[in-house]
Symmetry: C2
């Protein structure tokens, strides 16, 4: 059983792409993004012609560039390009991929002369399924590498494998554990455990993606009286959690109805948090 929230949509007809500012939908086969996953991406929510929370996306992208040794891109250019592909869509997702560019030589070692490739694509906003949100625990581990932790880089095979298994299991999303056994995040979302007045979310020092929505929750949840804590979470804690939230820019703050087949409580403050974040300017 697949759920509508993650079900494939026939998008091809509605896809729009820019490569380095030029309307085209292809890149060189020698691009290091394809050859090695040598690059980064951001998934932007666009509403009423504007990118939401753009400064946070740019901050993460810039941190990633510093880590990978890519030149930091011109933020205003990226914003303009993202907004330029929207056409009249009132709401859409824009994916921004930034690679090290076309390889100047064979092999992993960059020459340092590469010119980054900037790919901006528009994707239709997925219809909400209206169905309850099902979360599972993935058998696919997340590998630990502090040098890549937190980044939204292009090496995403683990997430692909996790989502393949999630589809077979009939769940919308799956939690993934690091080698040490602790729960890190969902395959495409960050995780918050609601425990009384506290929101707990795992640290991302060894793996995982530092989500834009996660940073918004950490900042704004205290306004609703929540304490927020970044703390390791074990699968055992998850198995007993009263309520869970997962976050990403598409889902916003998503209450989890089912975790590993167990019905969870829906904390009313989740909806208030969602509202607070939906209204956050930056």
């Amino acid at each position: 059983m697949t759920r509508a929230l993650t079900a494939p949509a026939a998008e091809s007809a509605e896809r729009v792409a820019l490569v380095n500012g030029v309307p085209q939908a292809t890149v060189s086969v020698f691009d290091r993004g394809l050859q090695y996953g040598d690059g980064l991406f951001e998934t932007l929510r666009c509403e009423q012609g504007r990118v939401r929370w753009f400064d946070r996306h740019l901050a993460r992208l810039s941190a990633g560039c510093a880590r990978l040794g890519l030149p930091v891109p011109d933020g205003e250019l990226l914003r303009r390009e993202a907004e330029s592909v929207l056409g009249g869509s009132p709401r859409a997702l824009v994916k921004l991929v930034l690679t090290r560019g076309v390889a100047k030589a064979r092999g992993y070692r960059p020459t340092g002369d590469e010119r980054p490739t900037r790919i901006v694509t528009r994707h239709p906003w997925p219809e909400a399924s209206g169905q309850e949100f099902r979360l599972g625990l993935s058998p696919v581990p997340l590998a630990c590498n502090r040098l890549l932790a937190g980044l939204k880089h292009l090496n995403r095979l683990e997430q692909v494998l996790a989502q393949r298994a999630a589809a077979s299991a009939g769940v919308d999303e799956v939690l993934m554990c690091c080698g040490g056994g602790e729960v890190v995040s969902g395959s495409m979302s960050n995780l918050f455990l609601v425990q009384g007045g506290t929101l707990l979310t795992p640290p991302l020092l060894q793996c995982g993606v530092a989500g834009v929505l996660r940073s918004l929750v950490l900042e704004l949840a205290p306004r609703l009286g929540f304490a927020v804590a970044v703390a390791p979470l074990s699968p055992q804690q998850l198995a007993q959690a009263p309520a869970l939230l997962v976050t990403n820019v598409r889902l916003g703050v998503q209450a989890v109805h089912w975790y590993e087949g167990r019905r969870l409580e829906i904390d009313a403050r989740g909806a208030r948090l969602q509202e607070l974040i939906e209204n956050a300017e930056r």
Copy 2:
């Protein structure tokens, strides 16, 4: 100081590419190979119009397909395509990239309806530098994920970071350690420690690539009187190793002259092993 063996060559003019059998040098920006590194590759040595050790490459590629849930490609078609791009080159490298194909929907989850993309590119054989081979120890760790271990998949950011650092350090290649601290392999090669009559190479159950040359060494070295053993190696063992070999299809069996600035012994059996492997039919 960069070494000629890994120095960038101006290859663009000599590059030749086939995508799904068609001469072209671009792929869709929506290809999952670019979007997620959702695919595999092989680097083939071609000599006198033929791919060397093709069955071993195909076996690894097929194992990777099984692991990622990709249809196993037609080996004869791949071989023919690889050989067709050679033109008159007496010796060349052919890189074969196989991705899950163009995404049918946004997001990590494959629909299952994707059609794989097959990319075959020719690269000039790099000139040997004639210089001594320098090996270092990388500060970049290799993340552990048993589900991806051994495969030559497209998620290669760790190797890119390691080779960037190697260039700064002025070495040809660097050894990489897993999170547990054990040495796994080079960034682009497998490792053998020569200890008296024994060749030791690390296991690849948690990370690393199961190299075609590594498998040849494991099979053929006993003919020279070597015992071969797959065993964990610590950085301390490496620091005291009398002699080291690194292997890949480009380098063959490469004796290491310097490791972390220390001059190593050159075991004459390394050259005999190289010769044995150069002559191996399959």
